[in-house]
């Protein structure tokens, strides 16, 4: 996201309203969401550079106000770096629950407009308003209505892109930020897209951008002139076809209401890098417990377990394994995560961060379960559900694996540090 933000340039000025016929897709994006919510509670900071993020040696920027962004601060940047760029910035801690409450209010507004709401994260969503026209007016009118209601009810601003496809709508909202509204009519798509750099297209990362640059393709317009077969030869079949379609403004994805969680995960950045496999395994256990509890709380089971290992050099690898049947058990997640860690050949390598994630989620209890000989009728499943109930009553950590019980005189080997940026793996950790 950060790179895309750097590409941001002021969009077209809101002149005469563009023709919104055939543009039923809205992309609504809160402006500097975490910061905006913090400013509701700290109005005296309005107009000053504000950063939300964990303030520590390894913290990262979760969100930055537009004032801070003018200094070059952007999300996912290390806090230490942000401080150097903007020493006068006020740094506020992340308050996930507060943002979740505001987000719920915003989504309630969306759902009062149309049931076709596809949430992408706490602070952005696609809406398909094709069916709301008779009731609420044209797409651009609905977009204005949403902006008005979000401001009136939640006290924060958002930007809305209106177009005939999801990706154009999303690019439009990016272009009109902050506090903007931009309609890209179908016959204006080419004019809107073609001057943009290729990096602004969804799916073009640094590597692809370099590959395109080698072909002399820097703008979307140049890309659109390359035949499909050439792109596929240079970039591979799938990516070539994808970019060809995007460059011509084609995006067949529909707005899918309520995207279920695709994965649930947790990760930890150590205060200092760790190379002791015992400490790593204990951290994997702690993360597995956390992920297991979250899966059960959300009523999910997942079939694929993955671990993320970031070395001191920042080189990051992920390893995953698909189980024979979905699980929500910390025990299974932990054992699999340890095997993946051991199989990665990184024992004795200094690690900066470890993460555990469960993917391929299905609703719990719906999957039939193959029974095994050595599985007692009551086992880990029942034990972990009992822990859930104790936790519910007495709070987190009331019951935990013995390996995670720390004697009072023991220090924290790593200790928690910064969490990921806005909408990424943080405390909430859902994708």
């Amino acid at each position: 996201m950060s790179r895309k933000q750097q590409l941001h340039r002021p969009g077209p000025q809101p002149g005469p309203p563009a023709d919104d016929t055939g543009c039923p897709i809205l992309h609504v994006d809160m402006d500097a969401f975490f910061v905006s919510v913090e400013l509701l509670d700290r109005p005296e900071l309005r107009g000053r550079p504000v950063i939300v993020g964990h303030d520590g040696p390894r913290g990262v920027v979760s969100a930055a106000s537009y004032e801070a962004r003018t200094f070059g601060v952007h999300s996912a940047m290390p806090i230490t770096r942000a401080r150097r760029l903007c020493p006068q910035a006020v740094i506020l801690p992340v308050r996930g629950e507060r943002y979740a409450r505001v987000s719920a209010g915003v989504f309630a507004i969306f759902r009062s407009i149309t049931p076709l709401v596809e949430g992408l994260s706490l602070d952005e969503a696609f809406l398909d308003v094709a069916g709301a026209g008779r009731r609420l007016g044209r797409p651009a009118e609905i977009a204005a209505l949403i902006r008005e209601q979000v401001r009136a009810q939640q006290g924060i601003t958002c930007s809305v892109g209106v177009a005939n496809t999801k990706f154009i709508a999303k690019m439009a909202s990016t272009r009109c930020k902050p506090d903007g509204l931009l309609v890209v009519p179908p016959d204006g798509v080419a004019g809107f897209l073609h001057p943009l750099p290729v990096a602004s297209l969804w799916g073009v990362g640094e590597r692809t951008e370099e590959a395109l640059a080698r072909l002399g393709l820097r703008t979307v317009g140049q890309l659109a002139q390359v035949p499909l077969s050439t792109l596929q030869r240079e970039l591979g079949g799938a990516l070539g076809a994808h970019l060809h379609a995007l460059a011509h403004g084609r995006d067949p994805r529909e707005v899918v209401p309520h995207t279920p969680d695709k994965s649930i995960g947790a990760e930890e950045t150590f205060g200092t890098d760790v190379d002791d496999p015992e400490v790593i395994r204990r951290e994997l256990l702690r993360l597995a417990e956390k992920v297991g509890a979250r899966l059960r709380a959300a009523g999910h089971e997942g079939r694929t377990v993955s671990v993320k290992l970031r070395m001191a050099s920042f080189k990051t690898i992920t390893r995953s394994r698909t189980l024979r049947e979905p699980t929500d058990l910390a025990r299974v997640i932990y054992v699999t995560a340890c095997e993946l860690y051991e199989g990665a050949g990184l024992e004795r390598v200094r690690l900066r961060l470890v993460g555990v994630r469960v993917e391929n989620l299905v609703p719990a209890g719906e999957a039939p379960r193959q029974l095994a000989f050595d599985e007692p009728e009551t086992g880990w499943r029942e034990a972990e559900r009992a822990i859930d109930r104790v936790t519910h009553r007495f709070g987190r950590g009331a019951v935990r694996p013995a390996a995670l019980v720390r004697r009072p005189d023991e220090g924290t080997p790593g200790g928690p540090a910064g969490r990921g940026g806005e909408g990424s793996d943080g405390e909430d950790g859902r994708r």
Binding site: E339, A367, P368, R369, Q370, L371, A372, F373, D374
Partner: protein
Amino acid sequence: MEYATDGRKVKVEFRVDRQPLAEAVAWAARTLPARPALPVLAGMLIEATDDGGLTLAGFDYEVSARARTDAQVADPGRVLVPGRLLAEIVRNLPPQPVDVFTKGSEVVVRCGPAEFGLLTLPVEDYPTLPEPPSRAGTVPGDVFAAAVAQVVPAAGRDDTLPMLTGVRIDIEGDTMWLACTDRYRIAARELTWTPADASFTAGVVVPARTLADTAKAIRPDADVAIDLTGTGDTLIGVSGGGRSMTSRLLDEQYINYRSRLTGTWTSTARVRTAPFVEAIKRAALVTDRGTPIRLSFTAGEVRLRAASGDSARADESLAADLTGEDIDIAFGPQYLLDGLAGVDTEYARLECAGPTKAALLTAVPDDEDSPMDDTGFRYLVMPVRLTS
């Protein structure tokens, strides 16, 4: 270079018929590793002796394979050649006598108009092939092959529990038991064999893939000899019909499976094997990964049902005899098919003790006067718990 650095002769010359050569080479090539730990392990050892014997061998440190056939030996000796390539070449030769001889650093393979030259590998670097332990006894090749084929589908494929990737072989006197389990089912076979010593006992675990390949490749009309000492074995030898192999054994620890194979059952169903297999295969067409087939036995029939979500379903009934309580139980279709593949009689028998308890699949002997309850094959399978 007639002699290697170890003083052994590396020159060789012999003539052999194409068919026996092809079979022998194919046997020895089975163990050749795809990515050899040492370059010489990609080689096939060719050894011709004065008495007209030709031996071909391959080895990957775990498993060795040797095949012996007759040849007209003009010049005895031993050479090492690229094994996979030799196997490919011999398989494609025309049906004529094959001349093999060394020429400089090359082994020439000549068959009719076709001639190939293969650069030899340094035979003096080749490891010594393991010698099998002493002969423990013999069993008819077809019986052994059938028994191994009945149990190996139940072996685990996951290396996290190496023990489960093996076939457990237990021997007590003239009785041999073979068994595999992957924690979800146990396939076991009891058979009678001829031990060299009537009081011989052994309990070993052999890698299942290796044993399956070996049992399949030995000629069914030959007797299979098993080489084991019975105590502290680390190696097993299996041979028959001029073919032999040795395999390293897995750790001898194994679960006590035999106690699980007897139980008290609340219902017993009898169903014709072939139509049952056909019906399961049909119903399995609509199952996803992880979704089971549900079997409902009532007096006179079994109903098979399967579905993948709401998108497809299957429903079929066929005749079955039931004694005891009605059964409503679900299994992974492949687990049922693996078990039924081991039932080689007209009727299969399924014994159950409840929808979440293991069920036992056996074969009803075709001979009604048979004193035996089954054919020595027992397949215990855990059901799938359905969500209510």
